[in-house]
C-alpha cells in the first residue's frame, strides 16, 4: 500500500512538472531538416571525393545520435549537479585550447582549431567546450556574487572573467568568430544578471561606433594602398564582393549567387547548382545559402521562424526557472544559439564581413552539434524543475 501511494504520488508529482515538448520538437525538426540539407548540399561532392554520396550525412548522423543520447542524459540529471564542476570546466577549457598546438591538434581548411580525441576517432573543437563551460561558470558566478553583481566592481569582474578564454581562442586558434560568440554570450549573461541598462547602452553604442571607425579607417587604408591593405581585404570584399570575386569575396559572391538564383520559390530540393563545387563549404558554414537556393525565400523564412520559436521557448523556460542558476544557464544557451544563428545568416547574406560561423543544428560539424545538444539537455533539465502551477 505504501509503495503504491508513493508511486501514485510520484506520478502526480511528475505530471505537475513541466517537460518542454515544443522545444524538443523544434530541436528535432532542425536536426532532421539539417540532415536532409547536409545530404542535399554534400552528396555531389561526397560521391566525387569519397565515392559515397552519404559520406557527410553518415558522419553527421552518428554525431546527432551521440548528441541526442548526451542530451537525454543531461536532461535527466538535476542541473545543480553541474554546479560543482564550474571552476573545473573553466580550467579545462583554458587548458584545452592550447592543445591544438600540440601534436594532438588537427589542421583543417588552413586553420588549427581541432584536437583529436585518442581512441574515439572524433575531432573536438576546444572552442565548443569553452562556450559550454563559460555558460556554466558565469551562471555559477552570478549566483555566488549575489547582490554584489549590481556594483561596478561586480560588473567589471563579470566582464573580465571570460576574457582569458576569449583571448586564448582568438590568439591561439585564430578563431575570431568563436571568440566573438563567447564574448557575446558573456555580455548577454552579464546583461541579464545586472539590473542596469545605461552601462549596456553605452557599451553598445561605443561598440558600434568603434566598428564604424574601424571600417572607415580600413577602407581608406585600402584605397590608399598602405600596409593595412592586406588585412583589410575581407572588409573590402564585404562592401563590394563583386570586386573581389576571385579573392576574399569568392565564397560570399558564390553564396549570393545561390541565394539570388533561388528567388522566392527556390529551385526545389536537390536542385541547387551552387553545391556542384562552386560554393565552398556548402554543407557547412554556407548551408543556409543552399537552403535559400533550393527552397527559396519560404524555406529561409521557415528556418528563421524555427529559430525565433526556439528562442521564445528558451525565454519562457528562463523566465520560469526555479532559481537564478537555472535561468542564467538557459540565458547562456539562448545567447549562444541566438548569436550563432544571427551571425551565420548575416554572413551568408553578406550583411557582415565573412567569418566562419556554422548554423546551429543544421550545419555539418560533429562537435558543434553534440555540444549544442548537451546545452539543450541542460535547458530541458532546467525546464523539468518548473512546477506547472508556476507557469
Amino acid at each position: 500500500m505504501a509503495t503504491q501511494r508513493i508511486s501514485k504520488r510520484r506520478k502526480k508529482e511528475e505530471s505537475e512538472y513541466f517537460f518542454d515538448y515544443s522545444l524538443l520538437f523544434i530541436v528535432l525538426f532542425l536536426l532532421g531538416f539539417g540532415l536532409v540539407m547536409i545530404y542535399s548540399a554534400s552528396s555531389y561532392e561526397a560521391s566525387q571525393d569519397f565515392q559515397d554520396a552519404a559520406y557527410y550525412l553518415k558522419k553527421q548522423l552518428v554525431a546527432v545520435i551521440i548528441g541526442l543520447v548526451l542530451m537525454i542524459f543531461v536532461a535527466n540529471i538535476p542541473y545543480h549537479f553541474w554546479e560543482r564542476f564550474a571552476l573545473l570546466g573553466y580550467i579545462v577549457s583554458m587548458a584545452l585550447v592550447p592543445l591544438v598546438l600540440t601534436p594532438l591538434g588537427v589542421e583543417s581548411h588552413g586553420a588549427r582549431r581541432w584536437i583529436k580525441i585518442p581512441g574515439l576517432g572524433l575531432n573536438l573543437q576546444p572552442a565548443e567546450v569553452a562556450k559550454l563551460c563559460m555558460i556554466l561558470f558565469l551562471a555559477v558566478l552570478v549566483c555566488k556574487m549575489g547582490k554584489s553583481v549590481r556594483t561596478l566592481k561586480g560588473f567589471i569582474i563579470m566582464i573580465l572573467v571570460p576574457m582569458p578564454v576569449v583571448l586564448e581562442v582568438y590568439l591561439i586558434t585564430r578563431n575570431l568568430s568563436s571568440a566573438i560568440i563567447i564574448l557575446g554570450i558573456s555580455v548577454l549573461m552579464v546583461f541579464v544578471a545586472s539590473p542596469d541598462y545605461k552601462k549596456f547602452i553605452i557599451m553598445g553604442v561605443g561598440g558600434v561606433a568603434l566598428v564604424a571607425v574601424a571600417v572607415f579607417v580600413i577602407v581608406s587604408a585600402y584605397s590608399s594602398g598602405s600596409e593595412l591593405a592586406f588585412r583589410s581585404e575581407r572588409i573590402v570584399a564585404w562592401l563590394d564582393p563583386e570586386s573581389q570575386a576571385q579573392g576574399k569575396g569568392f565564397q560570399t559572391i558564390q553564396a549570393l549567387y545561390a541565394i539570388g538564383s533561388g528567388g522566392i520559390w527556390g529551385k526545389g530540393l536537390g536542385q541547387s547548382m551552387q553545391k556542384l563545387s562552386f560554393l565552398p563549404e556548402a554543407q557547412n558554414d554556407m548551408i543556409f545559402s543552399i537552403i535559400c537556393e533550393e527552397l527559396g525565400l519560404f524555406g529561409a523564412v521557415a528556418i528563421i521562424l524555427m529559430f525565433i520559436m526556439l528562442l521564445w521557448r528558451m525565454m519562457v523556460i528562463a523566465n520560469n526557472a526555479t532559481d537564478l542558476f537555472g535561468a542564467m544557464l538557459v540565458v547562456g544557451v539562448m545567447g549562444h544559439i541566438a548569436i550563432q544563428s544571427i551571425l551565420n545568416i548575416a554572413v551568408v547574406t553578406n550583411t557582415i564581413p565573412n567569418t566562419g560561423i556554422s548554423l546551429p543544428f543544421i550545419s555539418y560539424g560533429g562537435s558543434s552539434v553534440m555540444f549544442l545538444l548537451i546545452e539543450i539537455g541542460l535547458v530541458l533539465s532546467v525546464a523539468r524543475r518548473i512546477q506547472l502551477k508556476e507557469l
Partner: protein, 579 residues
C-alpha cells in the same frame, strides 16, 4: 526564485534579449527578401553565366558567287574531334582509334587524351566521312562537332582576288577580307550546364543559340572570262618565259571587273604550300612567310610599274581637253627632242617625220607627246594628272591597293614633265591605268573599279546592293569621242594592229616599258584595248612582266588581248558589224 519581486528585472532583461534577437532575425529576413526578390535576376544571370559552358557553333560563311551565280567560294562540312577528359571510359581504346582514324602519332593523341582539361581539341578540319566513322565507334568522352571549312571549287582561279580564310574562318586576303562583315555571319553556341570542374551535368540538358549564316556575296567577275583570261595568261607566260602575266577585264562604263588574273596563281585550297621547287628546309620562318606573301600578292593592285606608252592616252586627252592640240595638229619628229639640255630619243631612231596627231599616237611618237606635255606646261599637266584621279587610289574593293609614285610638283622641271608625258619616271598600278583610261573613253566619268555587286540571303533574295562613287566630267564627251577615234586608229592601222580583230571595232594602245634600273634588259610589255571602239563595253589590260625574246607590247601583249576579245566579245553579246 525568479518570481521574487526584486528579481523581476531578470525577466524583463530576458524579454529584452529575446526581442532583440528576434528583431535582428527579422531584419535579416528583410535582407533576404531584398536578395531573393530585388537582386534575384542579377544573381541568377551571373550564376547561369558561371554554370554554363559554351561550345560555339560556327556560322556557315557566305558563299562568293560570280555574276552568273557560279559558286567561287563555298563551304564544306568538316568535323572537329575533341575529347572530354572526365568522360573518357576506355582511354587506351580512344587513343588507338583516334590515332588510326586521324592519322596522328600515338604520343600526340595520348598527351591530349590524358591532359586534365574540360575539353581538348584533337584535330580540326577532319573530313566528314572520317568524323562520321569516329562517331560510329560511340566512344565515351569523344566529341565530334561538325564545322565548316572554306572550299574553293576552282582551286587556283582568281586566287589573289578571292583570297582565302584562316583557321577561324576569317578572311586572310582578297575579297574574303574586304567583305568579312557580310560573309562571316554570327556564330551560335551550345550552352551546357557544368559543375565547377567543368563536368557536364547530364540531367540539365543543353541550350542552343543557332548561328546566323553569313550572306552570299555576288561579284561582277565572270567565271568564264576569268578562266579564259587565266589560260591566255598562262600560255603567254609560258611562251615568253615571263616572270608574271596580269590581265584585267573591266566594264569601262561602271567599273565592274569581269576578270583579274595574276599568273602564277596559287591553290586557294592549299594556300600555305610554297611554290614548287622551293627548298623549304633551308628557309627560316620569316623567309617562308615572306615567300608566301609574295605568292599571295596581287600584282594588279599591290604593285606599281612605269606604264610607258599606254600613258600617252592620258597626255593626249589632257592636250585635247585643254585644246593645245587637235587631231589635225602636225608634229615633226627627227627621232629625238631636246628638252632644256637633255636630248630624249624617240623609239624610232630615224624619226617619224612630219605627221598629224592621230598618226603620232598610231606610231606612239615620243617627241610629239613630249611636245604636247610641254605645251600644256607643268601647272596644267599636273592639274590634269590630279583631275584624272591619278594621285588618289582607285578605291577598289580589294585590300592593299598601292598608291601612285609621282614627282612632287616642286621637284619637277621640263625634263621630268617630258618623261611623264610618255609614261616614264613615275609609277602607277595596273588598276589605276585601266580605271583612268576607262574614264577617258567612257565619256569622261571616273568610275570606281570593283568586284562586289550585292549580297544575297540563303534564298537568293538581295540584301544589299553596293554603289560606288563616280566622278563626272573629268574630260568632256567631245574629248572622249576624239580619244576613242584615235585609239581605234591605233589598233586599225597603227602600233596596236596585233590587237585588232576583223569585223570588230577595237581601240587600244601598246606600251613597252623598261624596268628600273635602266639597261637591265628587263621590260614590261603591255596592251590596253577596248571594244566596241565607238561605244566601249569592255576594256582589257594585259601586262607581261619580263618577257624573253621579243618584248614589244604590240607583239607580245596585243595578241593576248586579241585572243581574249575574239572569245569574249561574242560571249558578251557584242556582235560583229559590217565594215
Amino acid at each position: 526564485m525568479l518570481t521574487d519581486n526584486n528579481k523581476i528585472f531578470h525577466r524583463k532583461k530576458i524579454l529584452v534579449i529575446f526581442f532583440l534577437c528576434a528583431g535582428i532575425l527579422v531584419l535579416l529576413f528583410g535582407r533576404l527578401i531584398y536578395l531573393c526578390v530585388w537582386r534575384s535576376e542579377h544573381y541568377s544571370r551571373l550564376a547561369t553565366e558561371l554554370h554554363e559552358r559554351e561550345r560555339s557553333i560556327k556560322a556557315a560563311r557566305g558563299r562568293i558567287l560570280d555574276q552568273n551565280g557560279a559558286v567561287l567560294a563555298d563551304n564544306k562540312t568538316v568535323c572537329t574531334v575533341s575529347v572530354v577528359h572526365n568522360q573518357i571510359e576506355e582511354p587506351e581504346k580512344v587513343i588507338e582509334i583516334l590515332c588510326k582514324e586521324l592519322e596522328l602519332s600515338e604520343e600526340y593523341v595520348k598527351q591530349r587524351v590524358e591532359k586534365y582539361s574540360s575539353m581538348e581539341r584533337i584535330r580540326s578540319n577532319v573530313e566528314k566521312e572520317v568524323g562520321d566513322r569516329i562517331r560510329e565507334y560511340d566512344l565515351a568522352g569523344v566529341k565530334v562537332d561538325e564545322d565548316y571549312k572554306r572550299y574553293y571549287p576552282y582551286g587556283e582561279l582568281a586566287s589573289k582576288v578571292l583570297g582565302f580564310t584562316g583557321g577561324d574562318n576569317q578572311g586572310i586576303i582578297g575579297l574574303e577580307v574586304i567583305y568579312e562583315e557580310y560573309l562571316q555571319g554570327k556564330p551560335g553556341t551550345i550552352l551546357t550546364i557544368t559543375d565547377a570542374k567543368g563536368i557536364e551535368v547530364e540531367a540539365a540538358g543543353e541550350r542552343r543559340i543557332e548561328p546566323v549564316n553569313g550572306s552570299d556575296l555576288c561579284i561582277s567577275m565572270d567565271m568564264n572570262i576569268q578562266s579564259y583570261a587565266t589560260q591566255l595568261a598562262i600560255q603567254a607566260r609560258a611562251a615568253k618565259q615571263a616572270d608574271s602575266v596580269s590581265i584585267l577585264v573591266m566594264n569601262p562604263k561602271n567599273g565592274e571587273l569581269y576578270a583579274m588574273v595574276n599568273v602564277p596563281e596559287f591553290d586557294l585550297n592549299d594556300p600555305y604550300r610554297l611554290p614548287e621547287g622551293t627548298d623549304e628546309a633551308a628557309l627560316t620562318a620569316q623567309q617562308k612567310q615572306d615567300l608566301l606573301n609574295t605568292t599571295w600578292r596581287n600584282g594588279c593592285i599591290n604593285d606599281t610599274y612605269e606604264p610607258g606608252s599606254t600613258f600617252k592616252i592620258i597626255t593626249a586627252a589632257a592636250g585635247l581637253e585643254e585644246k593645245v592640240i587637235t587631231t589635225a595638229s602636225t608634229f615633226s619628229c627627227p627621232g629625238f627632242i631636246v628638252v632644256d639640255d637633255r636630248k630624249i630619243r624617240c623609239h624610232k631612231i630615224a624619226g617619224h617625220g612630219t605627221q598629224d596627231f592621230t598618226h603620232c599616237m598610231m606610231n606612239s611618237c615620243n617627241p610629239a607627246l613630249i611636245t604636247v606635255g610641254l605645251r600644256l606646261g607643268l601647272d596644267k599637266y599636273y592639274q590634269y594628272f590630279e583631275r584624272f584621279g591619278l594621285k588618289t587610289k582607285t578605291g577598289i574593293d580589294l585590300p592593299g591597293e598601292a598608291g601612285t609614285i609621282m614627282h612632287r610638283k616642286d621637284d619637277m622641271g621640263n625634263v621630268e614633265l617630258a618623261t611623264v608625258a610618255f609614261g616614264q619616271s613615275f609609277q602607277i598600278t595596273p588598276i589605276q591605268l585601266i580605271t583612268t583610261a576607262s574614264s577617258i573613253i567612257n565619256g569622261g566619268n571616273r568610275i570606281t573599279p570593283h568586284f562586289g555587286v550585292k549580297t544575297l540571303d540563303a534564298d537568293g533574295n538581295v540584301l544589299e546592293t553596293f554603289s560606288y562613287p563616280v566622278t563626272q566630267n573629268v574630260v568632256s564627251e567631245e574629248t572622249s569621242a576624239t580619244m576613242r577615234e584615235i585609239l581605234e586608229m591605233v589598233v586599225a592601222e597603227g602600233s596596236g594592229k596585233n590587237g585588232g580583230i576583223a569585223g570588230f571595232r577595237i581601240g587600244g594602245k601598246t606600251a613597252t616599258s623598261q624596268t628600273l634600273p635602266r639597261g637591265s634588259g628587263r621590260y614590261i610589255a603591255s596592251f590596253i584595248g577596248f571594244a566596241p571602239a565607238d561605244d566601249p563595253q569592255v576594256i582589257a589590260l594585259a601586262i607581261i612582266n619580263n618577257p624573253q625574246g621579243t618584248y614589244y607590247g604590240g607583239q607580245v601583249a596585243a595578241p593576248v588581248i586579241r585572243q581574249l576579245f575574239e572569245n569574249i566579245l561574242p560571249y558578251l553579246g557584242i556582235v560583229e558589224y559590217n565594215q
